[in-house]
């Protein structure tokens, strides 16, 4: 059996099915929202690149602002997830 060739027992994390299901669901919601945001960027770049070179914020163009926003959004979503996801009781 996989990985049973050890001298010492290795404890597995005790998990609560409800917690796992809750975290998975939250993860999927956040994932979907990011996919939409990323998809928007891909679509704009591929199908209307001229919009990307228009100035948007403080003279900086859509391409740069959207790119930075994607990077910041990833971090924000990650922090949100860390905040609201639950931990199994030990």
């Amino acid at each position: 059996m996989a990985g049973l060739d050890f001298k010492t027992p290795v404890t597995r994390e005790q998990e609560d099915e409800a917690v796992v299901a809750y975290n998975t669901r939250i993860g999927l919601y956040l994932f979907t929202s990011y996919v939409v945001f990323y998809g928007g960027f891909m679509a704009l770049s591929a199908f209307s690149p001229e919009i990307m070179s228009r100035p948007l914020l403080a003279g900086v163009n859509v391409a740069v602002v959207y790119g930075f926003a994607l990077i910041i959004a990833a971090l924000v979503l990650a922090l949100v997830y860390m905040k609201i996801s639950r931990k199994s009781a030990q």
């Binding site: 060739d5 070179s53 740069v64 790119g67």
Partner: protein, 645 residues
């Protein structure tokens, strides 16, 4: 461009490599068990693991390739930054916790958790090996490319040195030392890049670049009229017929090449002629640093700034980006001309480019197709962005890092730290790249050297440190990959697939032997593929990883009717189809076989947009055909407590 060997660079490099090895040996004494070797005993702190993620992930391609691409073409390089980072969202929300929950040491463990199938073990182990090897090639090629100009060694020496050091790191202590190497490298890289970014902003943008010593650099002539060309124009003949160049012979018999512009004027070019016997000439003179010899001059400066000033002075981050958008920068393109005598001349010519153009997608050869009106051309771009998005969470050396922390909450927290460090770094890449673009220090022949040369344009110590960090970057990523590959061999193939009865000691020894073998293979591949484009190879690795691993991983987690046959088939089909597609693409025809790219069988180069859905489809179809009826269909779970056998 010939780079001067820098003693400071060698010294700093030796210091870094020595420190890394010392840490490995020190930690190596602690890692005796298999759990210790493969997964660092599960005892790495999440914050350390998070930074180590950054160290693992920010490979030579990320660092050198992206900076170089932005420096040469503008915004398009940043598309890679965005895609590479976005991939972490898949890792965090979809893969991280289940993987930690299901597996022990390797990716195959997690996939096989429900089934205990030898087919899955074999397929997953092979896909780990294939992806690791593909990802190793660009790292090794990058290592060689760095050593050559910095330390003055030939390419193959660089590859061998890196291969040996890394194999030593991996075999001494496995995952513990690998993790610490990643941690050191990740933190130094991010901090250093932040420092350089501040220096770029302090320097601002200028049309009259100076070197680190304050000496003004040569600015290539433009808008020269025909009567002002110093010398006699030669007739258009041979390979030069119909080309937009005029060759001018001066009083000393030296021939220079000028490019004919649309307005009837001429602009200065740089030429590199390689004769059949290997002798090199730059701008008509023998290549070298001595009297009477010439070398390619460093380039990269703005030709027009907003308000027609000569120098902007210090700028804020947003003002810097806005200034770049409103400026015109001299970028350089090249054309290779093969002459009848078998020699080749590469002409590097100026291409004044408006910021409006290079600060939006589609300005580089790689992505210029997004501006085309053909649908297939756009698919190529979309497919690459998809591969970058899905590939991260399928890379074996990233996946195994989830086994080094103690629980799911730690896996989550370390991913968040990883995203913060990597995201911050990728934001900096835009500034670094654009800073290099206007640093006046670029080498027209080698975009990979842009980041180190940018540092050199600021000062020599910074150059030495960044070169050393670039080396450790390669070391870190390569050691992670070799670790993943050796785990696949010792744990998945030998113990689980071949059912060899190995005790703890034998298993670790097997992994170390495997690591040495993979190290040797990596050295050989690094030498064989030395001429290939680094970023292109990384793109391949992401495509293969995403196509082979992601469908199996995702469906296992979210579809209860997934069967072992379905998983095995999805891995095999995803791997073979993406690999096959790549080998039949126009890019491979051109760069690998030297054939006419128009003859390529597949319509675009990046397979992910086809092969990822194909993997899902195969998995679903095969699973549906191999359903068992009744209670036997219920997946069997592994016991919660794994005990000694």
């Amino acid at each position: 461009m010939i780079h001067e060997t820098s003693f400071l660079a060698i010294l700093v490099f030796l210091f870094f490599a020595g420190a890394v090895l010392a840490i490995s040996f020190y930690l190596g004494r602690k890692a005796k068990s298999a759990q210790g070797y493969f997964a660092a005993g599960g005892g790495i702190h999440w914050a350390v693991n998070g930074v180590a993620f950054a160290g693992d992930y920010l490979s030579a391609a990320s660092f050198l390739g992206i900076c170089g691409m932005i420096a040469f073409y503008g915004y398009d390089g940043f598309l890679y930054s965005i895609g590479y980072l976005a991939g972490w969202i898949v890792a965090l929300f979809i893969v991280a916790e289940p993987l930690k929950r299901l597996g022990r040491f390797t990716f195959a463990d997690a996939l096989d958790n429900r089934f205990n199938s030898r087919g899955i073990k074999l397929a997953a182990a092979i896909s780990t090996l294939v992806v690791s090897c593909f990802y190793l090639i660009p790292q090794m090629v990058g290592a060689g490319a760095l050593v050559q100009p910095l330390l003055g060694f030939p390419h193959y020496v660089g590859v061998i040195v890196v291969g040996l050091i890394v194999t030593m790191i991996v075999t001494t202590a496995g995952m513990v030392s690998t993790t610490w190497v990643q941690f050191i490298k990740g933190s130094v890289l991010v901090v250093l890049c932040a420092v350089i970014t501040v220096m770029i902003l302090m320097r601002g943008v200028t049309t009259k670049p100076v070197d680190a010593a304050g000496k003004e650099r040569h600015v290539a002539a433009r808008q020269v009229t025909a009567e002002n060309l110093a010398g006699t124009p030669l007739p258009e003949e041979g390979a030069w017929t119909g080309k937009p160049y005029v060759r001018v012979k001066d009083g000393n018999g030296i021939v220079t090449v000028w490019r004919k512009e649309a307005d009837g004027t001429f602009s200065e070019t740089q030429t590199l002629r390689v004769q059949k016997d290997g002798h090199k000439f730059v701008n008509g003179r023998p290549r070298g640093k001595q009297e009477g010899e010439a070398d390619l001059m460093p380039v990269g400066y703005a030709s027009k700034l907003p308000g027609d000033v000569e120098k902007t002075g210090p700028l804020g981050p947003l003002a810097f980006l806005r200034t770049m958008q409103e400026s015109e920068v001299i970028l350089w393109s090249s054309e290779k001309i093969t002459e009848p005598d078998g020699g080749t001349t590469t002409v590097f010519f100026q291409k004044p480019t408006a910021g409006e153009d290079f600060m939006a997608p589609g300005s580089s050869p790689t992505f210029k197709k997004v501006r085309s009106s053909k649908f297939f051309d756009k698919l190529d771009f979309l497919s690459l962005m998809l591969a970058l998005f899905c590939g991260t969470a399928s890379l074996p050396h990233i996946l195994i890092r989830y086994y080094t922390v103690k629980d799911q909450a730690s896996a989550r927290k370390s991913t968040v730290v990883g995203i913060a460090a990597i995201g911050f770094f990728y934001v900096l890449t835009l500034f670094l790249g654009l800073g290099a673009m206007t640093s006046g220090a670029l080498d027209v022949t080698d975009s990979n050297m842009s980041a180190p040369l940018l540092a050199r344009s600021i000062n020599e110590l910074l150059f030495a440190v960044i070169s050393a960090v670039a080396f450790t970057t390669v070391l870190g990523t390569v050691s992670g990959l070799i670790m993943a590959a050796s785990g696949a061999v010792a744990h998945d193939l030998m113990t689980n697939f071949l059912k060899m009865r190995l005790d703890d000691f034998q298993k670790v020894r097997a992994a170390k032997v495997a690591a040495m073998a993979v190290g040797v293979i990596a050295i050989i591949l690094g030498i064989l593929f030395s001429k290939m484009n680094v970023n292109f190879l990384v793109g391949w690795a992401f495509n293969i990883a995403a196509s082979a691993n992601l469908p199996a991983l995702v469906m296992l987690l979210f579809w209860k009717r997934t069967t072992k046959q379905g998983i095995t088939a999805a891995i095999v089909v995803g791997m073979i189809s993406s690999l096959g597609w790549i080998l039949l693409s126009a890019q491979a025809y051109k760069d690998v076989y030297g054939l006419n790219p128009a003859d390529a069988i597949v319509p675009f180069s990046q397979p992910a947009i086809v092969t990822i859905p194909l993997g899902f489809l195969v998995l679903v179809v095969v699973s549906l055909f191999t359903q068992r009826t009744g209670p036997a269909a219920e997946p069997k779970r592994e016991p919660e407590l794994a005990t000694a056998s």
